[in-house]
Symmetry: C2
Subunit: 127 residues, 2 copies
Amino acid sequence: MAEQTFTISELAREFDVTTRTIRFYEDQSLLEPAREGQRRIYSRRDRVRLMLILRGKRIGLSLLEIRELFDLYDAASNDEPQLREFIRILSRKEQQLQEQLDDIRVVLGEIGQIRSQCEKALGKQAV
Amino acid sequence: MAEQTFTISELAREFDVTTRTIRFYEDQSLLEPAREGQRRIYSRRDRVRLMLILRGKRIGLSLLEIRELFDLYDAASNDEPQLREFIRILSRKEQQLQEQLDDIRVVLGEIGQIRSQCEKALGKQAV
DNA sequence: ATTGACGTTGACGTAAACGTCAAGTTATTG
DNA sequence: CAATAACTTGACGTTTACGTCAACGTCAAT
């Protein structure tokens, strides 16, 4: 059974981004879809990459950082300094994420408090 | 004992931002320090606001969103529609934060896996 | 053959969040 | 009192991540 492929607008719909966005990611070397004539053809692997890009963005990575991670990941299996560099970057990002997570917990806690105060001020109807 | 105050560069040092940044926040109506002649004088309350701004940013709020929250918070004690709007915004943001938190957990998990693979590939030295 | 949907490549525009001068004011310190 | 440091207000520049045309290609259906 042949590999499943996708068009640019299929991916755009599925992930709720514009086609412009997807082409822009290609410009930034984050995607490299095959071509059939002029048309771009996206493989499962391309689709996964797009998912990773979008998740990377959601956690606050820049497109450049995402690209660096891709590059490292692609090249990392070879020599040892590469691997060590990869680990270093991941550790740093892990720590940042952990701090961000703590921040979010704090804010969520405060939001909860403020909200219950508001609800009390409005009487006991559920909101 | 008189209220403690701060200069712009004291705050800049303390929070590791530039004075330009602090003035920019004032431009955006996020801060309203008192003046002594021309010079800006920051109160404890201003300092707290700055802390809130920076924490808001760390969790991915735009300056505009931060300002809206400030405005609502300042005005919220009065009428009921204000309060309801406040609650609505907080709920929406709470949900976004929760999703972001889930994303971060996923990525942290994957980072852990990738890293332990890397470490295995490098032999059993601690990294 | 034309219409419509979908695709393509430029090129320029935009919003957010500051950075970076320039040119002047005020305070203090040797 | 002159230098230096710290402050001020513009005004313009910069980066990121796209949006928005314009102008054109391609293919299927009418």
